[in-house]
Amino acid sequence: MSHQGFCKRIIPCLDVDSNGRTVKGVKFQGLRDIGDPIEMAIAYEAQGADELVFLDISASHEGRKTLVDLVKRISHDLRIPFTVGGGISSLDQVLALLEAGTDKVSINSAAVRNPQLIADIASHCGRQCCVLAIDAKRADQLVDGRASWDVLVKGGREKTGLDALNWAKHAVSLGAGEILLTSFDRDGTGDGFDNALNRQLADALPVPIIASGGASGPESFLHAFQDGHADAALAATIFHDGHWHIEDLKQVLLDEGIPLRV
């Protein structure tokens, strides 16, 4: 039985380096080149990806120019929406990326340093363009009597002192249109998404939550939607390594009653 209504989303994520190549972190060995981002993007669209996210992991000056060129080429060929993030720190950078053809930008550390950036993006480009990325790590202490997660920046190296839920609420009030929520504890583990985290934000916020970090097989996605109440789920390795073809993954989830586009 196929679904005929509003859908949850499956989103592959591609890390892109300063040479404009898709790369993958390998433990203790640095980064490995795994392909051309445009070829991979087209292949994921054909597999049934609902959106794509490209993260510039170099976030360097020369990488920035490569990224804008890459975005132009992606928007020429790709027929589904995509988001670009990684080191974005100014409205000018956002405008250049949107002009080049991205549909949304994701901001992280710069929004923590300067929350006004969220409001500036929302007022110039619309809140639907403005995705706030949060890297969250489970905290020992409670906040307002509930479980809490610390917001980390600089790839998890630095604590901000912010509570993830409170930060997300503030960001949404400023104009964030979606939250890309990555569990620092689960990222790269394959242990499943942190659904206590996902549910806490998904139930409290009037914008979509994209669950990220910890994806493994279909059951991890099932739990992200059913227990985590996520609106979308993002993964990289399981798709890049070919462990799961998106079409097959979606069919399994659809059979479990998750509303998806197939």
């Binding site: 005929q4 509003f6 589904i80 929406p81 549909d103 249109g177 979509p208």
Partner: protein
């Protein structure tokens, strides 16, 4: 054989233009008073929708498009395609910009999705199904980004209906020479591109001479 795309400033129409190129639909960009190019009545017209209802109406007025657009669409009956807010401005008014009059080519108003219940998420962002309300309209999934939807006075103009959080809403209209999509065909994969191409291929031959 080409289409005229109105560029009224403010937003980025690049995504839609790329889609027209992928569909092999030739187009020219009209910039109104900026470069003296206006709808001619010789070609179909596309109105992309970027920005708020009020901002688009202001942009159309500032670029000198209001009068020629009204003439070619309502008098000369040239084929017209609106996309996203380009659908909404066809109507008379919108809750988004209460003091701004729309084009009024179709009777009705534009309303905000209800938010007065727990768990409400607005805007709608993502893929949804379009249910055909007229004949010869293929069904499938399309990508929406919208907080507002059109509420036509005449239900017969609705080409597609979708449902979001319990609200059934107008996903597309088709009435005589006027067509419009609330969703983004340019972001809706192969199916969205088929819909654009289908609109183009179904144009009456005489207007393309």
């Amino acid at each position: 054989m080409l289409v005229e795309v109105l560029h009224y400033g403010g937003g980025n129409v690049g995504s839609l233009l790329r889609a027209l190129e992928r569909c092999e639909i030739p187009y020219i960009l009209l910039k109104g008073t900026i470069d003296g190019t206006f709808p001619t009545g010789k070609h179909p017209v596309i109105l992309p929708g970027v920005g708020a209802f009020g901002a688009i109406m202001q942009g159309l007025e500032a670029r000198g498009f209001l009068e020629p657009l009204t003439q070619v669409v309502t008098v000369e009956k040239v084929p017209f395609l609106g996309v996203c807010v380009g659908l909404q401005v066809l109507f008379e008014s919108s809750e988004e910009s209460p003091n701004v009059a729309g084009l009024g080519f179709l009777k009705g108003t534009v309303r905000h999705f209800p938010t007065d219940f727990e768990g409400s998420k607005v805007p709608q962002i993502g893929w949804n199904y379009i249910h055909a309300q007229q004949e010869n309209a293929p069904e499938g999934f399309v990508y929406y980004v919208n907080s507002y939807f059109a509420d036509p006075a005449d239900a017969n103009v609705v080409l597609y209906a979708s449902e979001y959080q319990g609200t059934r809403f107008c996903g597309a209209v088709k009435h005589e020479n006027i067509s419009a999509f609330q969703f983004h065909p340019e972001k809706s994969g192969a199916f969205g591109h088929d819909l654009l191409r289908h609109w183009f291929d179904a144009l009456p031959v005489e207007v393309l001479k």
